[in-house]
């Protein structure tokens, strides 16, 4: 890190925090603090929704995912636009009509306080842990690559987020997210331009595409149906729709973003713009990773990108074995670079037969290189049993630090920290809202004043911030972080979605049946996660289908009690508000 990088990084972060604190001042009532006075317009809502989902993990781990596994991860997002349309039609008008603070308040109008509390608790567990991972990810990666103290980085970033989130509430979160997302995308765009520019001068962009494609890195769409493959068209479209419906429709960290809309129109437009922009945005981030992969076909990459683990194995009894693997890896790189040149020459000569021969040779050496990298990872696993032996998260930042010019490194780091802060702030904001509205004010002190609730919301933001920082200190050995955070969510999202679908679309299912259905759905998801090889995107489908099915069956056996019968929200009028006990 050169002085100009420090200036760019610190200047950006200080400006963002100061802007957040300034934008969020003068919030005295709960509506202003938790929902920005319900005055935001669709551009702010759309960017805020995108920034909430796009954490630092997105910008660090996703390019590494493309480097290691190709672009097929983009299929994970294919269900998102469908979910945005469904939610715009169904959930948004209901949430707006009821003038609720949290999504879980709505459940009480339909199923009673038990289901509301259960869903709130599931959310608090899942989001509390995810926020810890969101905070931990950039701290871990930056500490490894730049040698910063991970604990200090964690605490500093965490405290910066807590400062403006606690003081300014939702308005500060949403306003800063607009700038944070733009900075993050700007940083990625600069990285992409430099990655392409750093390719050998005789390699054109189309040739770079062809090399990446021939080496399996532009595999954006795969129509093969396989329940065990994590990313294919079907798991992305079906599993991804369920996941996105649950995440955007029932996860308070997202619902709170569009509850801030000045009208149904503003909220809907925010969601729909997200639906239109998100898939191309993820494609772009993955494409950065694919270009970094092409870059490393001409410049020797390290055998293992995690420098800390590399140093550890060099000091261990396996040092000689690792050195042997490094030498083998270097030989394979030289061989591979020669094969890439042969492939390029064949392409330029338009010689199809030679292209196929060169591709076969290239894939062969690539398979051997992958085996060498796997052997190195296994060696690292033996050096420190239980250590994270995946280096996917370190690939992109290694490229940034080693090859980007002064100033740009600071900008990309600022982009990563901005993304971390934006996702963390939404998480803390929603955790505080749910704790105060669904637990404290509903179960603890129903007649609490607005001032008391605002004060408690600020305290809860700080408390959840400290929890996230604390969890981040222990969150390691999670492999690819972007997978880890989505897997964690997928353990709960299907069940929560089942409860909301029952609330939206059934009139006769009672609170008791919904509650039982949720428990059975959650048990099914846990069983799939522990006892089967099913890819995690399908857990969302299982949780939802089993949850809804079990509730419908349970309804036949559970005696209806008059108190459980409440009017359906889909047919409810503004009188619904009287059922919500805040």
């Amino acid at each position: 890190m050169r002085p100009i990088d420090w200036i760019v990084l610190i200047g950006t972060l200080v400006a963002i925090v100061a802007y957040g604190v300034w934008k969020g001042r003068h919030k005295k009532n709960l509506d202003g603090y938790l929902l920005a006075g319900r005055q935001l317009k669709w551009p702010t809502i759309a960017l805020s929704i995108m920034a909430t989902q796009a954490s630092a993990i997105t910008f660090l781990s996703t390019p590494g995912q493309a480097y290691a596994d190709g672009m097929r991860f983009v299929q994970f997002y294919l269900g998102l636009p469908i979910a945005m349309v469904v939610l715009s039609i169904t959930a948004v008008p209901i949430y707006h009509r009821l003038q609720i603070f949290t999504a879980y308040e709505y459940l009480e109008t339909r199923f009673g306080v038990g289901t509301r509390t259960l869903t709130s608790l599931l959310f608090l567990i899942q989001r509390g842990l995810s926020t810890g991972i969101t905070l931990y990810a950039p701290a871990l990666i930056v500490s490894v690559i730049l040698g910063w103290n991970i604990h200090l980085t964690n605490i500093l970033v965490g405290l910066m987020v807590v400062l403006y989130t606690a003081s300014g509430g939702t308005k500060a979160v949403s306003r800063t997210q607009v700038h944070q997302l733009l900075i993050a995308l700007g940083g990625m765009a600069v990285a992409l331009v430099i990655a392409i520019h750093s390719l050998p001068h005789d390699v054109t962009l189309v040739e770079a595409f062809r090399v990446a494609g021939r080496m399996g890195r532009l595999n954006a769409i795969d129509f093969t149906f396989d329940l065990k493959t994590p990313y294919n068209f079907w798991s992305g479209l079906i599993g991804g729709t369920f996941l996105a419906l649950s995440y955007f429709g029932t996860d308070q960290s997202q619902v709170q973003r569009y509850l801030t809309g000045a009208s149904v129109t503003e909220s809907r437009l925010g969601l729909l713009i997200n639906g239109m922009v998100k898939v191309p945005m993820q494609f772009f981030i993955l494409f950065v990773g694919a270009m970094v992969f092409v870059f490393y076909q001409f410049v020797a990459p390290p055998l293992f990108f995690n420098t800390v683990q590399r140093a550890r194995v060099a000091r261990s009894q396996y040092a000689a074995d690792y050195n042997r693997l490094e030498k083998r890896h270097q030989q394979q790189f030289v061989e591979k670079r020669a094969d890439v040149q042969t492939l390029l020459a064949a392409m330029r000569a338009h010689d199809g037969a030679r292209v196929d021969t060169a591709t076969t040779a290239l894939r062969h050496v690539q398979a051997r290189e992958t085996a060498t990298r796997a052997a190195a990872a296994a060696l690292i696993g033996r050096t420190q049993p239980g250590a994270d032996n995946s280096d996917t998260n370190y690939i992109f930042l290694t490229f940034v630090i080693d090859f980007l010019p002064a100033g740009v490194v600071g900008l990309v780091l600022a982009a990563i920290f901005c993304a971390a802060m934006s996702a963390t702030s939404s998480g803390l904001n929603s955790l505080a809202s749910t704790t105060v509205v669904d637990l404290f004010r509903r179960l603890g002190k129903p007649h609490a004043t607005d001032a008391e609730c605002v004060r408690l919301s600020k305290l809860m933001t700080i408390a959840w911030g400290l929890f996230a920082i604390g969890f981040a200190e222990f969150a390691n050995r999670l492999g690819s972080l972007i997978e880890a955070v989505n897997k964690l969510g997928s353990l709960f999202y299907g069940t929560i979605l089942a409860i909301f679908l029952l609330a939206f679309y059934t009139k006769r299912v009672s609170g008791t049946a919904a509650f039982l259905g949720a428990l059975i759905g959650e048990a099914a998801v846990v069983w799939c996660a522990i006892a089967t090889d099913m890819a995690w995107l399908w857990w969302n489908v299982i949780g939802c289908v089993v949850g809804v099915g079990a509730a419908l069956v349970a309804q036949r056996f559970v005696a209806e009690q008059r108190n459980d019968l409440r009017p359906s929200a889909s047919s409810a009028s503004s009188a619904d508000k009287s059922f919500i006990r805040r």
Partner: protein, 60 residues
């Protein structure tokens, strides 16, 4: 699909005034054509899938 009433009359239709008022008349915002927008999102997704598939095949 019902829209919620808008507070403050920003989206409400005002009666035509016989005499000039001291307040400038706010332009009536156009209500989005929701079926068109929903279709646009889905069609864009379909186009993206086709482009991504072509991209995959073109460079594989």
């Amino acid at each position: 699909m019902s829209e919620e009433p808008v507070v403050g009359g920003r989206e409400s239709k005002s009666e035509p005034c016989a005499s000039p008022t001291p307040y400038p008349r706010l332009p009536t915002p156009t209500t989005p054509n929701w079926p068109f927008l929903y279709s646009a999102v889905i069609i864009e997704l379909a186009i993206l899938i086709i482009i991504f598939y072509a991209f995959t095949k073109a460079f594989a």
